[in-house]
């Protein structure tokens, strides 16, 4: 006989508890935050590598300068996606399905447009990654962040498809909210890189 068979302590009945939740009450929210912590560390290490490598150059940036306009346009549109993302996150938290779906579709469309601008930004980079350590770190940062936003956008498209099915899991509210959280991170993590890269590219 185990201790559990012999127990005589308090009985807690959870039959009346809700069968789903949103926000930081849920395990998924915590999982998303931890994923963001992992990826933040990756980006932070890459950012520090950029600063570390700068010490090896007399002139910085050593290669041809990055073009500011494509990067600025892409960055601005990415920032703009945060508004509908905020709105669909709020709707998901309040479990308002119609509003959540509408704003998610708009946010997804904007995210896909931002990826088109990112392609323009990448094509406008005037040097190859084989040019120097500076070129390498810029290309890899840009590539890693592009992978980040493409992943986020693909996830949003997937969510949109799910939201047009005839039957929806209640858990979808939780999923969509976490997706929004992740997109916020995906956009904002680029801010220090973009500011540094393009500020240095436009300096004399």
């Amino acid at each position: 006989m185990t201790e559990l068979d012999a127990r005589s302590g308090p009985v807690v009945d959870v039959a009346g508890l809700p069968r789903h939740a949103t926000g930081l009450r849920t395990p998924l929210w915590w999982g998303t935050i931890l994923l963001i912590a992992i990826e933040s560390t990756c980006f932070a290490i890459l950012f520090n590598s950029y600063l570390y490598l700068r010490n090896n150059f007399d002139e910085w940036p050593p290669d041809e300068r990055l073009k500011v306009l494509p990067g600025a346009c892409c960055g601005a549109l990415l920032l703009l996606t945060l508004l509908p993302t905020w709105l669909y996150r709020r709707a998901a938290h309040a479990e308002h399905f119609q509003r959540m779906r509408r704003w998610l579709v708009i946010a997804t469309a904007l995210s896909l447009s931002a990826i088109l601008l990112r392609i323009w930004e990448i094509r406008a980079v005037p040097f190859s990654w084989t040019g120097s350590a500076y070129a390498s770190v810029v290309w890899v940062s840009l590539g890693m962040h592009t992978l980040e936003i493409v992943t986020g956008a693909v996830e949003s498209v997937f969510m949109c498809v799910l939201l047009f099915r005839p039957r929806i899991d209640l858990k979808t509210f939780e999923d969509v909210e976490s997706s929004a959280l992740f997109w916020f991170f995906s956009v904002l993590v680029w801010a220090p890189f973009a500011l540094l890269f393009y500020a240095e590219a436009s300096s004399r």
Partner: protein, 636 residues
């Protein structure tokens, strides 16, 4: 499709679970006990493989001018040995024990993300297979387990050997991060009611702290190995000084991961020590709060002393002094734990069984490793013995002393819970004696060899060096250690074949895993306890949770573990297995071409879509009805 009266009320599930073949069920299993056992068995297999490589190296070095191995094979062996023990044995073994025991110890039915844990297992297995396939086909990594550039760069290491190492990192770190996230969220959100943070067993605390360390340490090596792979595959210049890159950048990134890795490996071991000391003494732990804080302090300090691995690179003196201070400082929290264990045991009458014998062996060996660690923190000594066998001796005293002895103790302690069978005490004590004597005979002489100038990573030496005698002794010790490991294995195999059922609580344990039968019931049959104290099986009454369906999991609040809501447990699925295959394909393709990334992502994405596609077995609602009600102003 179900028609429901209230459009805002959850719709009933629309499909019934199907029955599958045994192979399908095995591949699809998401039960934390099954996954934990698989991790433990696989990691132990890699431990034996890494041990065989070590014995081959010891045979080669037993006499001067050894002829068993050539330099090229020797380089592959020491690199694969180090990589195996760090990435394929130590971390997965500790995490496997966490996967098995953390849910049991916190009173949860399963992990927070069981499918993710299944993915973690498969990707880990595929990584290990890749490494050993490469070794057997003469493509084993050969630049050391830390793959220093420029040696590991494209110029000095052509071919695919270093790329295999870099991709091994991707495999194993994906796995480690997935398990770490799982353990943290399971501990935070699935504790039994009443099991507030200040009541967690110390092993759970050490597992939690370690998981946070994994979260912040592993990204460094992922970024570093990716940059190395890119330097080698597409011609970037991160580590190429000719184009503004920096070889020391590699060392910084590597050791920012590598030093915390040491603590990632042995902090769970210290958690096991606490559990066994408490059980052996039948007393509550002296200084529970200081021990928890010591774990946290060790984790924080561990990130501030990576540079002591780089003292020989000519750092500024101020930097070296800072990292010397930090390296000495970290001895304090470990010392606190030592004194708390001694105080707990003081005056008690612990029985000298196999788990406790391994802990006594740990006390001696880890203490020696800690003391040589303090020596190595001092720049003059560090520079003097840099890259000698003194460092080899030190790191084995720390890692085998701090992790393997507690691990053997932990496996002996928890064997009944893992398998339902009890180990033979006599064979357990014999294996402990052999491992302890063998270990010290193998590694203590290496301190002397290092002080006499024998460098690491040499495949041979001349008779005139005078290193032959201690090398021979070291080899004899290594084989004794290997024999001890085999006796341990024999003991386990013998017990598994026996028919005697182990009792639920053979040691009179204090924590919740001992409240379950041995082995524990399947997750859906398991009841959630309600606890009233830090030692729920010793102090206070043990209650239970009612009103939970078989496929449901209770979610509680992070700090006070008050019940919050109920979730449906994810069903078993083969998709983690297939996603791991797709991911492995991507990683292996990237060994040869950068196009492996986009091509592989297509398959990985497809696998993920199937993984996350709803099965309509969870509570839900009809879309049209929901929209109609919301448009008419209905709210929830």
């Amino acid at each position: 499709m179900t028609v429901i009266e209230d459009p805002l009320a959850p719709a009933a599930p629309t499909s019934e679970p199907r029955s599958h073949s045994a192979v399908y069920d095995w591949l699809a299993s998401t039960e934390h006990t099954a996954l934990g056992r698989r991790f433990i068995v696989t990691a132990f297999t890699f431990f034996l493989l890494g041990g065989v490589l070590a014995l081959l190296m010891r045979l080669q070095l037993a006499r001067p001018l050894g002829q068993l191995l050539g330099p090229d094979r020797y380089n592959q062996l020491f690199t694969t040995h180090g990589s195996t023990m760090m990435f394929l044995f130590a971390v997965p073994m500790m995490q496997g024990l966490g996967l098995y025991f953390v849910p049991l110890m916190v009173g949860a039915r399963n992990l927070a993300f069981p499918r993710l844990a299944s993915f973690a297992f498969w990707i880990y297995v595929f990584g290990g297979i890749t490494l050993y396939f490469a070794l057997l086909s003469n493509t084993g990594p050969d630049a050391g387990w830390f793959a220093y550039v420029p040696l590991a760069g494209p110029e000095h290491s052509p071919g695919k050997r270093v790329d295999v190492w870099a991709q091994l990192i991707t495999f194993t770190e994906l796995s480690a991060l997935s398990v770490a996230v799982n353990l943290i969220v399971t501990t935070f959100k699935h504790k039994a009611p009443g099991l507030s943070l200040d009541r967690l067993p110390i092993f759970v605390w050490s597992s939690l702290v370690t998981s946070f360390m994994v979260l912040f340490a592993m990204p460094a090596i992922i970024v570093a190995s990716s940059c190395l792979a890119l330097d080698r595959l597409v011609g970037t210049h991160f580590f190429n000084p000719a184009e503004g890159g920096d070889a020391l950048l590699w060392q910084h990134m590597f050791w920012f991961f590598g030093h915390p890795e040491v603590y990632i490996i042995f902090l769970p071991g210290l958690g096991m020590v606490s559990e066994i000391v408490v059980t052996a003494s039948q007393r509550s732990l002296f200084g529970y709060v200081p021990v928890v804080l010591a774990n946290v302090a060790t984790a924080i300090l561990a990130f501030g002393l990576w540079v002591h691995h780089m003292f020989a690179t000519g750092l500024p003196q101020l930097g070296a002094s800072f990292f010397t201070g930090a390296s000495i400082l970290i001895a304090i929290p470990t010392g606190v734990q030592f004194f708390c264990w001694i105080a707990t045991l003081w005056g008690s009458r612990p029985k000298l069984n196999a788990p406790f014998a391994f802990i006594l062996a740990f006390f001696v060996t880890f203490l020696i490793g800690g003391l040589t660690g303090v020596m190595l923190a001092a720049v003059p000594i560090n520079v003097q013995v840099h890259d000698t066998f003194f460092v080899v001796a030190h790191l084995h005293y720390v890692l085998i002393g701090g992790a393997v002895f507690p691990l053997f103790g932990g496996l002996s302690h928890w064997f009944p819970k893992l398998t339902g069978r009890a180990l033979s005490e006599r064979l357990g004590l014999l294996s402990c004696a052999l491992v302890f004597v063998g270990f010290n005979v193998a590694f203590f002489p290496q301190h002397l060899l290092g002080l006499r100038g024998m460098p690491r990573r040499i495949y041979s030496y001349l008779p005139e060096t005078g290193w032959g005698f201690w090398n021979l002794i070291s080899t004899l010790g290594a084989f004794t250690l290997g024999l001890g490991a085999l006796v341990f294995l024999f003991n386990a195999a013998r017990s598994l074949r026996s028919h005697s059922q182990a009792p639920a609580d053979p040691w009179r344990g204090h924590s919740l895993e001992w409240a379950q039968s041995s082995p524990p019931p399947a997750a859906h049959e398991r009841e959630i306890p309600v606890v009233e104290s830090r030692y729920p099986l010793w102090i206070g009454a043990l209650g239970r949770v009612t009103g939970l369906a078989a496929d449901e999991q209770l979610v509680t609040r992070v700090v006070d573990a008050e019940p919050d809501h109920v979730l449906q447990v994810a069903e078993p699925s083969v998709m983690p297995f297939f996603t791991a295959i797709a991911t492995a394909g991507l990683i292996i393709a990237c060994l040869f071409t950068p196009w492996g990334l986009p091509a592989g992502l297509v398959f990985v994405s497809a696998a993920l879509v199937v993984w996350f596609w709803p099965t309509d077995t969870r509570p839900g609602f009809e879309t049209k009805q929901r929209l109609r009600v919301e448009r008419s102003g209905g709210t929830r």
